[in-house]
């Protein structure tokens, strides 16, 4: 069994809104998979069904071979969940919160090690109410990983982070990936998906619109590249399927270094926006609910 998560024909409806509309997906053991999509696309609903927190209307779902809807505590041993918000800990210190969480797992990581992994050593014995947003989020991750999960769910982990905190957080996720943890993350940030994920799935209106590596999503890799350069005081632009040959010709013609040379392909953001554009208008009204 190489799939940590399998989803077949998943459907979930709220009132007259089809939040998840026939989703199929396999996520391999050890893979980092990112769900991208606008608010209300069905990301969180799907993830919560996989976590065993929501019922589904139809379809088959397996996480580590178990149906999350019928999961027991032994299954919870193998799952880590980083919630969008984890309140109610303000009066404790990170060390106290982690120690009490560690006790419910059979084979937890040492508390001190987890504190060091998420970089909270200096705040380990301070009240959680005094942590910054980024520190708090790292504590959330620490709580999610202390039980040595095989599958980790991360729901919009870096929302509200400053760029530096986000970089640090990415390092943490890469470290977990290096240890073989299967990670399913949802995010609004395309750079985050591009940086972390082995594959991304773009979801809108409950349907999977595209599924590929970040580099290949939506045929990004084979689309025309744009070559621009400076010549005689003006900027020139050429769109081509053979950017290498184009640059070679330019280099020859301009005798060496090409001034202001840029070769670009459509960014992940361009590709993503093109993919979801047809769904945005339809999604707007029903969007708030599942978000």
């Amino acid at each position: 069994m190489d799939d940590a998560i399998t989803i077949r024909g998943l459907r979930k409806r709220y009132g007259d809104k089809q939040a998840v509309d026939g989703l199929d997906l396999d996520i391999q053991v050890g893979e980092v998979f990112a769900f991208l999509g606008p608010n209300g696309a069905g990301k969180t609903t799907t993830v919560e069904i996989l976590e065993g927190f929501r019922t589904r209307d139809d379809g088959d779902v397996r996480v580590l071979g178990t149906d999350p809807g019928k999961a027991n505590l032994a299954w919870r041993e193998r799952i880590g969940i980083v919630l969008q918000t984890s309140g109610g800990l303000d009066l404790l210190t990170p060390r106290e919160a982690l120690a009490s969480t560690a006790k419910v797992f059979a084979h937890p990581l040492p508390v001190d090690q987890v504190i060091a992994d998420v970089g909270l050593q200096e705040k380990a014995d301070n009240r959680i109410s005094g942590l910054s947003g980024g520190q708090r989020r790292r504590l959330d991750v620490a709580l999610g990983i202390i039980g040595r999960p095989e599958v980790l769910f991360l729901d919009e982990p870096t929302t509200g982070f400053d760029p530096e905190a986000r970089r640090e957080f990415w390092g943490l996720i890469e470290q977990l990936k290096g240890q073989g943890t299967t990670i399913l993350l949802t995010t609004h940030y395309l750079d985050e998906a591009e940086h972390l994920a082995d594959r991304v799935g773009v979801i809108a209106a409950g349907k999977l619109l595209a599924l590929d590596t970040p580099a290949n999503l939506g045929g990004r890799d084979t689309q025309e590249a744009t070559v621009t350069w400076e010549e005689a005081g003006t900027r020139h632009t050429v769109r081509t399927n053979e950017p290498t040959a184009e640059v070679g010709r330019l280099s020859q013609r301009l005798a060496g270094e090409v001034p202001g040379l840029l070769v670009t392909r459509p960014s992940l953001e361009d590709t993503y926006l093109a993919l979801i554009a047809p769904h945005l208008a339809a999604d707007e009204t029903a969007g708030e609910r599942a978000a």
């Binding site: 976590e51 927190f53 919870r76 799952i79 918000t85 109610g88 800990l89 009490s100 006790k103 419910v104």
Partner: protein, 270 residues
């Protein structure tokens, strides 16, 4: 099973830490009855007489208010603490977070019960000490009185816990203070906690008799008042058997409600 108990104890320690760090909770549920007893005892001193027909037995204000303050304390530390904390923990995601781990659900409830039993015991001991040491209240010496005390205390605490958990389902974190504290105040006033129960109009006594606080207070009066004061009760008796029955019935009802209505997640999120 043993691990559930061990985890329950671990939760108890954690709950105690959080409780003791929450200044408002410590004040309004733990210290409040102690403060009220001290205030009443200082303000009214020894000027309070019993019923005119019972002039033979005089008590001071501390003895008069002691049963009511113990009863209020039992309900504040059990029902009020429980209703408010569970409603808050449901809304702020604490319950969801706990549910996302392999913690056996019973450990959560054992932790709550542990918190309430320890805090209300401590509170009651402080109340008794203040009454005895500061205001010279004679405490009962008969074993049967203390047996009654323990029965009423633990039935009251257990009922308060399960009813509080059940009650938490009708409140959200935002509304919980009003939804819990309001009715609790009314109940305290009509159940003979702040006024002598015999001075309350009989139709209000009837209303109060539906709820457990009246019976806890009556049970506590039977322990701490002169035995001859039984004539001031509604039935002219202490009604200890009836008290135990009513409290047990509330406890069972609370347990059933709690089991049937408990939710780990906020409304509309499953």
């Amino acid at each position: 099973m043993t691990s559930s108990v061990a985890l329950g104890w671990d939760r108890t320690v954690l709950e105690l830490k959080m409780y003791s760090r929450e200044k408002e909770a410590v004040f309004f549920s733990f210290l409040f009855p102690i403060l009220m007893l001290t205030l009443f005892s200082v303000i009214f001193g020894s000027s309070i007489k019993g019923d005119p027909s019972n002039q033979a037995v005089h008590v001071n204000a501390a003895r008069l208010f002691l049963p009511g303050m113990i009863s209020a304390g039992v309900l504040l530390t059990s029902f009020q603490t429980m209703a408010m904390s569970v409603a808050t923990e449901r809304d702020d995601g604490t319950l969801k977070r706990l549910r996302s781990t392999p913690m056996p659900p019973v450990a959560y409830f054992l932790g709550k019960v542990g918190l309430v039993v320890l805090t209300s015991l401590a509170q009651t001991v402080v109340l008794l000490l203040v009454a005895r040491v500061a205001f010279g209240v004679e405490l009962p010496t008969a074993g049967s009185a203390w047996l009654t005390f323990l029965a009423v205390f633990f039935l009251g605490v257990f009922g308060g816990v399960v009813l509080g958990i059940a009650y938490s389902s009708i409140a959200s974190a935002r509304s919980v203070t009003a939804v819990v504290v309001g009715p609790m105040l009314v109940l305290q006033f009509i159940s003979g906690v702040y006024f002598q129960f015999s001075q309350i109009p009989s139709w209000l006594q009837q209303v109060a008799s539906v709820f457990p606080l009246k019976w806890i207070a009556q049970g506590m009066r039977s322990v701490f008042y002169p035995d001859s004061w039984r004539s001031m009760e509604m039935a002219g008796q202490w009604e200890i058997g009836c008290t135990a029955l009513v409290l047990a019935a509330w406890a069972v009802l609370g347990l059933v409600l709690c089991l049937r209505t408990f939710r780990w997640f906020k409304r509309g999120t499953t």
